[in-house]
Symmetry: C2
Subunit: 474 residues, 2 copies
């Protein structure tokens, strides 16, 4: 497996060899997520849901089917989504039913029943759900699938100001979880108006860099404004008794897609490297025994396992009949952060051999220092993050001319350039970039205003209103 | 709300008033699960999944769609399920696709690829998933829906003996979680052969009593034997290199359906009573303040909240502007196990007022005794369980004659009777029970062999081979 030389092959190989998924289910775009993948996914879900709950979101579950008439209520939404929808065969007595591609039109129908007064606001709900898109292009496991596993939040406020604050909070949640925990840096990009979510006022996508230097959109958050509240008649009475339409936002992190970035960003030629905080097994204990000392070594291994578990860690002992070398190979392939080797010598000296997956260092750990592994785990995750941050930082280059921009794209960089506008009037320049330079205007930085400082648009040479980022994407 | 007088109305009312679900989604059999219901469900899932993991099950995720050709492989399975399936509109390049009603035919196709040798066994996987049944009869929220939220385990063994052990382990898991934790007693019933799962050798359903004295089937576990392994060609090489078909079981607890039993069993005329172990809020703190002492009372409330949270408890403060009486009413309706009232007097005396939802007792709790609430919570759950156990025990009556049996059914009891056979030859007697007595043979006790002691079948008077339970069901 050679990640740098052939990322695409490396990615397919690792998914199969580390038993993350199985592609042989036999229906295009629908994959089986195997236990090793499912356990990582579950840990990702738990961290994400906890973060949302801390920010006053409550969970709920909506049906998987959405009547066609719901889609029709918001005209740009139906235009954007209809081609991508799976429909059920006629169900007696029902409107045409779609499998949810996203659930705005399911939630907001109920919101119009639930929301009456300012006392009902803000309303912040999320659901953990699988969603479906009828992709006709080539699918790619976890990256572009027809079924994926996500979270969608649907938040409602009394004012635009509060809604815009929520959009910023969503970016912070992405930062807190995807970047700080999973070690995946991103550019929060306010998308050009021609590239926003169907039915939104504006969209902020989190652009993540893949090892092949292409960008992939991870969690996006949308200011829906009053577009849906007008379409679904969601009104509230304010404190003075005046009726108003609510302001809405939605946010959609997809753990199954983020898993693709986690695998791609941190993995190496030996296999996966899973962040400590989401590793199904954080420490694998390899007992090294012969027929004589087997019982003793296994007993000691169990003692160590219990001690680590009491610290809240996820630990397993590999007591299978394979040779130690074979076990090392397998657990490195599966990306377990730490390996503890324990044999007669270790027991006698009260010292263990500790192997760390990312640095590939072997060191000696005094048994009484076992609790330090928690701290090592934090450091492990910090290293992964730092490495990913450095990779991304290195990729962003300022470009002043079209020539610069072309070169940057050839060198697989992300260009930071002055640009006329990300509203309608900039669309022509964006088309030029797409056709001539085979790259995309990804947007402006959404959590910090960057000024073009009187510069000119890199394409049309008119006065630049924005600093935008340009790259190639999935 | 009067549970005893009109259970059916009480059930609908409480689901709405306690904000468990919303029926107004507009598609028959598809309901919205609101936050209060979703949070209980989530806690149920977590306890269930943890128990399965402890028994060496690993999670995975399978696609929601299953190709028709998969169903066709096991002939009795397709006969049993085809009428109940939702189909997708034609998807280009694919076989006809169903929404999973259950996932045997999805899992086992992959099992035939994954299993090669005795080293791969046992294989014990589960998935948390929503499943779909095209119910044509009247639906009933959480009880009979077209979409429900369940767990399905699919276990594979080298021998029939191990598989049968797994069936018993599944019954124990139901006992451990549904009975011990959620307080719902059940009869593990080995179903008559005419009533087993489509494709199984035998089925064990967990019969739970509803307040209207009807039985509802909760988790069922199935010995699939080699029916599916032969249909899907799932073979393994044993230690001697001989190829054999595997032995299989599956088990399907549906938290959304169990929730119906939890609500129905423990609730009373004031509302829900949620077991402590799955209550989204275990303790609600009601601060009692006026404009002068508000800050002081709220500060003290927060201190108590923190202290309880540090014990690992789920606690909220209701600091809304409603009157205390209104708050009491609401949280009792929502079934929160404990309420702590705290005002100036309580702070001065360092004593809190503790209200317990099931006993409706108010008592004084010394602030330094706060940690006792954990123990109180266990006692709370024990009381709920005891009450449910007593209700069920009281319902089971031994019947010797048809006359007795008729009377028992009129008096809304469960009859325990001698019966000729639960194999094919007993089907006629079962039909008689159904037509003449409007009741059902539910099966024989599955975790304990009961002997008819030379008695005769209550219907045909022939020699009885079994002791069966008869009741009315949902």
């Amino acid at each position: 497996m050679n990640k740098e030389k052939n990322f695409s092959k490396w990615y397919s190989d690792i998914l199969e060899k580390a038993e993350i998924i199985d592609l042989r289910y036999g229906v295009k775009g629908f994959i089986v997520i195997r236990p090793w993948g499912a356990m990582i996914l579950e840990n990702m879900y738990q961290l994400y849901e906890k973060a949302l709950q801390k920010k006053n979101h409550k969970s709920c579950f909506f049906p998987v089917v959405i009547p066609e008439k719901n889609f029709k209520k918001e005209s740009s939404h139906i235009k954007g989504f209809t081609p991508e929808v799976f429909w059920l065969q006629k169900v007696q007595g029902e409107d045409k039913l779609a499998l949810r591609p996203t659930s705005e039109t399911a939630f907001y129908q109920m919101y119009s029943l639930w929301i009456r007064s300012w006392r009902d606001l803000p309303l912040k709900l999320y659901q953990r759900a699988n969603v479906f898109r009828y992709e006709t292009k080539a699918t790619r496991p976890l990256i572009r699938s027809r079924e994926f596993y996500w979270i969608e939040t649907h938040d409602v406020f009394a004012t635009r100001e509060e809604a815009e604050k929520q959009v910023q909070e969503d970016i912070e949640t992405t930062e807190e979880i995807m970047h700080e925990k999973f070690g995946i840096p991103f550019l929060p990009m306010k998308r050009p108006s021609w590239d926003k979510f169907a039915g939104s006022v504006y969209t902020i996508g989190s652009d993540v860099l893949m090892p092949d230097s292409k960008l992939i959109q991870q969690p996006s958050t949308h200011l829906l404004g009053q577009n849906f509240s007008k379409a679904f008649n969601i009104k509230f009475k304010d404190e003075k008794g005046k009726e108003e339409y609510v302001w809405q936002t939605c946010y959609g992190p997809a753990p199954s897609r983020i898993l693709a970035s986690v695998i791609s960003t941190h993995g190496d030629d030996k296999g996966l490297v899973i962040p400590f905080c989401i590793a199904p097994i954080q420490i694998i204990i390899i007992p090294i025994f012969n027929t004589k000392n087997k019982k003793n070594v296994l007993d000691e291994s169990k003692k160590i396992k219990r001690e680590l578990e009491n610290l809240g860690l996820r630990v397993e002992i590999d007591d299978s009949e394979k040779r130690p070398g074979e076990k090392y190979f397998e657990w490195e392939l599966k990306g377990v952060p730490f390996r503890l080797e324990i044999g007669e010598k270790e027991i006698k000296e009260k010292k263990l051999t500790l192997f760390t997956r990312d640095t590939e260092k072997k060191e000696t750990l005094n048994m009484r220092d076992l609790p330090k592994i928690k701290k090592f785990g934090d450091e492990f995750d910090s290293r992964l993050k730092k490495k990913a941050d450095d990779f991304m930082k290195d990729k962003i280059v300022n470009c002043k001319t079209k020539q610069d921009l072309k070169k940057a794209m050839e060198n697989k960089k992300i260009a930071r350039v002055n640009f006329c506008s990300i509203e309608k009037e900039g669309e022509k320049c964006a088309e030029h970039v797409e056709k001539e330079i085979h790259a995309e205007i990804r947007g402006t930085l959404a959590n910090k205003r960057e000024h073009p400082k009187g510069g000119k648009c890199i394409i049309c040479n008119k006065k630049a209103k924005e600093v935008v980022y340009i790259g190639k994407s999935y």
